[in-house]
């Protein structure tokens, strides 16, 4: 993984540097014009958020059922990145909403659920920090449940129709506006690569920390 890290980082940096050009080259949306351009980063950050939650949920399950400490490290990295990308998505969404709907925040189904999912993972970190001994297991339970509620967040907009664009908008974009679809895919890949590099760094840090703890313990055991 360490060998792959440098190319991954370079590729991510290049993609992010080129992303403004890709976005600038897409056509203007017919009603929102320039404001709609935030969509490319907004959508991409939610995709990275979904990936982070998936990683956290699966890694939590692996930790819980296999008692593999690597699962725990991956889960904590996933939860932190879920908070990061979720915060980015909420902020870009709020900015977009201010211009498109006229309000910063709307108590729409998906917005509410996204905020709650954000709270779940903040709760996850709180449990890890203040849960005392055995908190990793508690947090793993939280991670599994958090990941399980996320599909409901995704589907909630279809069940409870409100002003947030329907999920089919993105699906139909490929036929109606291929240039916009291309830019969206480009940004999504860039965000996923950013997610992958941050995840690698974070997991690496966590395993260094575990190694340090192990060394301290070994030192104390010495006569």
């Amino acid at each position: 993984m360490r060998k792959l890290f440098a190319p991954l980082l370079v590729l991510t940096a290049v993609m992010f540097a080129y992303a403004p050009v890709v976005i600038a080259n897409t056509r203007y949306e017919s009603t929102m014009f320039l404001v709609q351009k935030i969509f490319y980063f907004h959508f991409a950050s939610w995709m990275a958020w979904a990936a982070a939650i998936g990683v956290c949920g699966i890694a939590s399950a692996v930790y819980l059922f296999r008692a593999d400490p690597r699962g725990d490290r991956l889960a904590v990295a996933g939860a932190e990145l879920a908070i990061l990308f979720g915060a980015f998505g909420l902020v870009t969404g709020s900015l977009w909403g201010r211009k498109a709907w006229g309000v910063w925040w709307q108590w729409d189904a998906r917005l509410t659920m996204a905020l709650m999912a954000e709270l779940i993972f903040v709760g996850y970190l709180l449990v890890r920090k203040y849960g005392g001994p055995g908190a990793e297991k508690l947090a793993a339970g939280m991670g599994i449940f958090g990941a399980a509620t996320t599909p409901f967040i995704y589907k909630s907009v279809d069940w409870w129709r409100t002003i947030h664009p329907q999920t089919s908008v993105v699906r139909n974009l490929g036929e109606t506006a291929p240039d916009m679809y291309g830019a969206m895919l480009f940004c999504t890949v860039a965000f996923l690569l950013l997610f992958a590099s941050l995840l690698t760094v974070r997991v690496h840090l966590e395993s260094r920390r575990a190694e340090l703890d192990r060394l301290y313990l070994a030192l104390e055991d010495q006569p």
Binding site: L64, F65, T112, M113, M116, A117, L119, I120, G123, L126, V127, Y130, G131, G132, P133, G134, A135, K137, L138, A140, G141, M142, I144, F145, G146, A148, T149, F152, S156, W159
Partner: protein, 226 residues
């Protein structure tokens, strides 16, 4: 011993203790009633209750009381140092979980039997217009909330900070259940009652319950292993 027998025995044990002391039932009921009274102070303007507040008040009272009850049931196990004994029994762990869950659900249903008439009476809410639908929403919502609550309360027994941690973990995760419960109930409180919307939320509650109970049964065993 079969799964159902074990679950029933755990439930019977809790029920016997509760009948003797009445501690959790009375404190929970009293707390729920105080909650409703505080809302009455906040939401009654010039003698008239705010329209549509009934559903939210009912659910908040149930959820707060539920949090209190969940904390207390496992506190008793911890205090009597019977958690380990319970987990050492050669019975499926999931059966112990089901027994505990049924106890919490029964307790909350008892609280709801008091709260529903009280909210209907104090806030002039037509809660008894569709009794079956209301019972379905309350019952399913309680099961969803209690299934996650029982699991987390059991996990937190060993944690030092369990009193703060339980609500922190529980409320964000059960938010889908809370939303479905509150919106389903307020659909019933409209005049005339919006039955299709209420039914939609009932189906959503069923799906949430299935997911939460399945996940809880699946994770209870590894989460309770030291």
């Amino acid at each position: 011993m079969s799964f159902a027998t074990t679950a029933f025995l755990v439930l019977k044990k809790d029920f016997t203790i509760e009948v003797k002391s009445g501690e959790i039932l009375y404190t929970t009921l009293f707390f729920a009633v105080s909650c409703v009274l505080i809302f009455a102070i906040a939401f009654v303007r010039e003698g008239q209750p705010v329209e549509g507040a009934g559903a939210g008040i009912l659910w908040i009272a149930v959820l707060f009381a539920g949090n209190l009850a969940l904390g207390r049931t496992f506190e008793r196990e911890r205090y009597g140092e019977t958690v380990r004994a319970l987990l050492l029994t050669p019975a499926p762990r999931a059966a112990i979980y089901v027994g505990k869950l049924l106890g919490i659900v029964a307790l909350l249903v008892a609280a709801e039997c008091l709260l529903v008439p009280m909210v209907a009476f104090l806030f002039d809410a037509p809660l008894f217009a569709r009794p079956l639908l209301l019972a379905a929403i309350l019952g399913l919502g309680t099961v969803g909330f209690a299934s996650v609550g029982t699991l987390f309360a059991a996990m937190l027994v060993r944690s030092r900070t369990r009193d703060v941690m339980l609500p922190i973990l529980l409320y964000p995760i059960t938010v889908p259940v809370i939303i479905a419960g509150v919106l389903g109930t307020s659909a019933l409180l409209q005049s005339p009652a919006d039955e299709p919307v209420a039914l939609l939320w009932i189906w959503l509650l069923v799906s949430f319950d299935v997911v939460f109970v399945t996940l809880a049964l699946w994770t209870f065993e590894p989460l309770m292993t030291e």
